[in-house]
Symmetry: C2
Subunit: 430 residues, 2 copies
Amino acid sequence: MSKAYAEMSKEELRELQEQLNSKYVDAKGKGLSLNMARGKPSPAQLDMVMDFLDVLDSKSAMISEDGVDTRNYGEMDGIPEAKKLMADIMDTQPENIIVCGNASLNIMYDTFSRAFVHGIMGNTPWAKLDKVKFLCPAPGYDRHFAICEHFGVEMITVPMFSDGPDMDMIEKLVAEDESIKGIWCVPKYSNPLGVSYSDEKVKRFAALKPAAKDFRIFWDNAYAIHHLYEDESRQDKILDIISECAKAGNPDMVFEFASTSKVTFAGAGISAIASSVANLDDMRKSMTIQTIGYDKINQLRHVRYFKDINGVKAHMMKHASFLRPKFEACEKVLDEELSGLGIASWTVPNGGYFISLDVLEGCAKKVVSMCKEAGVTLTGAGATFPYKKDPKDSNIRIAPSYPSPEEMAQATDLLVLCVKLAAVEKLLEA
Amino acid sequence: MSKAYAEMSKEELRELQEQLNSKYVDAKGKGLSLNMARGKPSPAQLDMVMDFLDVLDSKSAMISEDGVDTRNYGEMDGIPEAKKLMADIMDTQPENIIVCGNASLNIMYDTFSRAFVHGIMGNTPWAKLDKVKFLCPAPGYDRHFAICEHFGVEMITVPMFSDGPDMDMIEKLVAEDESIKGIWCVPKYSNPLGVSYSDEKVKRFAALKPAAKDFRIFWDNAYAIHHLYEDESRQDKILDIISECAKAGNPDMVFEFASTSKVTFAGAGISAIASSVANLDDMRKSMTIQTIGYDKINQLRHVRYFKDINGVKAHMMKHASFLRPKFEACEKVLDEELSGLGIASWTVPNGGYFISLDVLEGCAKKVVSMCKEAGVTLTGAGATFPYKKDPKDSNIRIAPSYPSPEEMAQATDLLVLCVKLAAVEKLLEA
């Protein structure tokens, strides 16, 4: 039905441009004000979790399984029942878990900070090295890259594919360059692609032979349980990196992170780090100086609310029922309006919080700014790459979680219009 | 009535020793198991706050004064009503406040960490300096000293008096040594002495002329509202260090810390840092990389529970009614058993969480270990000094908050017995 733009004559393109321009002028007149910039839960999704606030009250028993009063100081590791719950979410064992505060980003930052000041397991603190480099599969999560930038860590972009990052490149680089100290990964429903690492890639990660003894995989399992579909065949599964690393003779090579920020309340959840016992013991040396303990009452609240991992899974299916229509509303418009035009490609993820859209090279910034002008805010173009520089200026991250499905359709209508306009302009300039 | 031990003959001392020894053997037989080691709230005190868990439930309005959904991401500074509450507790203004996570110790550690990796206001990061020194008024808080030790900061002990630390020494040292980057202070009901800084000393702090441009006073106002007496004449007051520093032309010289750990629940309260706007802006550069925001729901819970500072003050009077009898039970035994013997002196604080006991030089370790042997755990002797080394081996910190008043009396009975025994042994050796 639709003709690929590249096959159009200049004249056809000019005519199309005129039509699109007139539509864009109309769109600007509508006074839209929609935000698809960040992976924020919607008010409706949060309303659904309000009964979380009922589970603890003045009549509640406040003692943990191992007899600790959750209202008092201590138990830095977290209460045992919370360690078990987070271990089940992260597909590991309670002894590999420290339950922390309200945000996994905070643990990631602190882990960096510790590596810089105190070093990992007796290795030279990174602050004392001339050069520290990190591998950054991209498109990726802007806040990971921001941590690197803030600590002056040089980022090396690694291409992402639909089954994980470019392992050939990673294997080669870490083996030959001792200044490469880590890599950022979002292994499941990755931000922003929504793809999950294949078993083969996870095994290749676990078998890396890095030159740096303190090389660590920063495994941000942010979307471990964030499926969009009930049908198990549409639920991605990844291997447990911690046991894979152990099997491959690299037991200490990974720090894994997760939280319940997108499970209960964003900013009022609990987070956890998972790693080898040796790594955790190394961390505890600093953590016990940094804190007497994290918020155990909120840990207890989570355990009482969910009971166990099955409670979490059932709860996440309710989330899916809220999120799925938003994703599908966006995907429908993308499909109907952009298929076959040869000017864009996008991901159709089974979970997570994002859809990734690639437009013609050199057009992403323009598209984002045109959308903004007409009232739809997207994540800044380039944000998904180190130093906010998308070398092709083509990737756009779409966050469908906040708007309603209707708003998502409206916002995507505008987005596809801008994608088309930018494409036509580019082709006319060629 | 009682004769000073120093005036006793060897024979009298030997006789006394025999009596005391026999009492000690009896005491050991009682099978005591009491803990006066840490400033932990007692279960009864925590029971009193259980209605704190009722203020938010599934029916609650969750939007902050400025329209922010506390259940969602964002608002790194904290919600305005929580900034106001913490500002009132800390006797400063909301614009001088960032409300943080569950523990002020964590903010102090992070503030150190930032200074080490990123430097304060563009100054050289401390990690890049050959030497960083801190002044440590002592006896003081062991966890402050632990942070210094963990970061390899050299600690210089400064004597503490009943109205604050030795200002002559502090003024001289900071003026001449650029490697001195800070000082730890607990200005009100100080840990462990329970004394508060006089107005004159606060003013001298504010007027310091440090050689280091990035010298900072770490003002741990942990017991800002923790009075033991309703009578206002027995409530210590200190000057606001932030406005005093501003008046003295040193607006950026102080970081102040506080939390509600000993107001609501230990480990599930909220904390805050107070400082000049310029300092806070400098911190925000790192904090916005470290976190999207702290737990705003717990902030809201605090504000709804207390309404305002008057609610907090009324609440703290309920705490006082729990804590006071424990302090008084201890003080009564100390007074009755040790007055006039010339072998000990102790503080009688108007607030805070500790009583400080000084025994004969060289006897503190022995007393603590004898107590332990008979079932009463005290803070390790030396813990109140840098590197855990009390140069006189004479200071013992008593934490009356956890045991009941009856248990405090029992525990202090044993303590005074051990103080006497150690004194007699010392005098006999002389």
